[in-house]
């Protein structure tokens, strides 16, 4: 071996080859320390326990949840020696370990994204009232998906549903969901709304929905998103970033389409209302017609009464003035030879006396005038 020595870089390469062969991946758990990010691209930290320390390196986009010094984490990594002879773990995935750390990581990310106003109320869009195309991102094998589709079909029809099947748990879930989101957003005939559905379950792992790149993808989706992640206890960051949050997959179906029964009831009410208004109008016009008729009749009646009265008066007058009346009361009419009524005569004249019963021709023998 001394006769064929390796160069330094060759030695490093050889050792790395061996490492890659023997340990393509190792999973190590420890406490984070000396955490730093350089140039917003390169992440360095140490992983340690009571007796040992290992340096770790990763790219910032692989850091999908925040970690900090003192946090216990698990890394999935490949061991390497760098060109500078430093032994380090090249980390592909890092996950906080233990509820406290998970919560801590969650809180850090929540604060960070909140500060960027990713969860602001005015960023949230209203879902379309009657969507014609709905995108669904879910695991088609999950109960949540089945519930969602069932309630959707019960409530409404005539909608085109495009389903992107993904895993909703595990480390691959965020990446698959992000790809599905991008795909649906870029479809030429894209959906009006996207439902992100995960089957109910309380103790299940929600961590995929607290993945930073996924949360950002949900917040920046051109198409509005409703999350139906169905976790009984916790709210995920995807829930906060979505335009609408549903409590469960079934609830998501209720929020995303109307209920045809309600519409049918509303339709019936509308038709009844129209009927009522129509009928009311007819009643109103009939009443008015009756009132007009009444008014006209009473007007005519009044006129006739007036006329009758006038005529009666005339009649009375005529009767009064009618000479015949005088005759019937015993008076006589005195006429001269020319037939006209006279009230005096000369002696020797011929006069005609008309009584009730007779006409008498008489000669005047004596006249006495009164003053």
């Amino acid at each position: 071996m001394e006769t064929n020595p390796l160069q330094v870089s060759e030695a490093i390469a050889l050792i790395n080859q061996t490492l890659e062969y023997a340990y393509p991946t190792i999973v190590v758990e420890g406490e984070v320390s000396s955490f730093k990010v350089n140039q917003n691209k390169f992440v360095f930290f140490d992983l340690k326990d009571d007796e040992g320390t290992l340096g770790c390196f990763m790219m910032v986009f692989s850091l999908r949840v925040p970690i900090e010094n003192g946090m216990r984490v698990r890394v999935v990594a490949q061991p390497k020696i760098t060109n500078w002879g430093k032994f380090s773990l090249t980390v592909r995935e890092v996950h906080p370990v233990g509820e406290g750390n998970l919560k801590r990581s969650f809180d850090l990310l929540l604060a960070k994204l909140d500060k960027e106003s990713l969860f602001a109320a005015d960023r949230k869009r209203v879902l379309p009232a009657m969507p014609t195309r709905i995108g669904v991102i879910s695991s088609t094998q999950s109960a949540g998906y089945a519930d969602f589709i069932k309630i959707l079909n019960q409530r409404w029809g005539g909608v085109e549903i495009i389903v992107a099947h993904v895993v909703v748990q595990g480390t691959d879930a965020p990446k698959q969901i992000i790809r599905a989101l991008e795909h649906l957003n870029q479809l030429p005939d894209s959906p009006d709304v996207i439902a992100l559905i995960r089957g109910g379950g309380s103790l299940d792992d929600l961590s995929a929905f607290n993945d930073e790149p996924l949360v950002r993808a949900v917040a920046s989706s051109r198409i509005p998103i409703i999350s139906g992640i169905g976790h009984e206890v916790d709210t995920s960051l995807v829930d906060l970033a979505a335009d609408v949050r549903a409590a469960t997959p079934s609830n998501a179906a209720q929020l995303i389409v109307p209920n045809r029964q309600e519409f049918i009831n509303q339709l019936n009410r509308s038709v009844l209302r129209i009927g009522d208004q129509y009928s009311r109008r007819i009643d109103y016009l009939l009443n008015r017609l009756q009132a007009d008729q009444d008014r006209m009749l009473s007007h005519i009646y009044a006129n006739f009464e007036r006329l009758k009265e006038k005529l009666s008066l005339r009649q009375a007058l005529i009767r009064q003035l009618n000479p015949r009346l005088a005759l019937s009361r015993g008076y006589s009419l005195l006429r001269g030879s020319n037939g006209m009524l006279i009230d005096t005569a000369n002696v020797g004249d011929s006069v005609t006396i008309e009584t009730k019963t007779s006409t008498i021709l008489a000669g005047v023998t004596h006249v006495e005038k009164r003053r």
């Binding site: 009657m130 589709i149 029809g157 005539g158 909608v159 509308s270 038709v271 129209i274 208004q277």
Partner: protein, 67 residues
Amino acid sequence: MLKKDDESLSEQFKKLDELVNWFEQDDFDIEEALQKFEESSEIANLIKTKLSTLENKITVLKKSFDS
């Protein structure tokens, strides 16, 4: 096809809404009212039939979103 059907569904809803509003006036013409009343009945029945019979079309994408 589905989209066009649904577009006319929204249009029909709108037409019915307009008819309801027309009947809310104080003094509409009785002759016109008869015709509009019949129209509203027709539209309502059309919508109800459509709503009751239209089904959803589900397409599961063949594309895999695996790594």
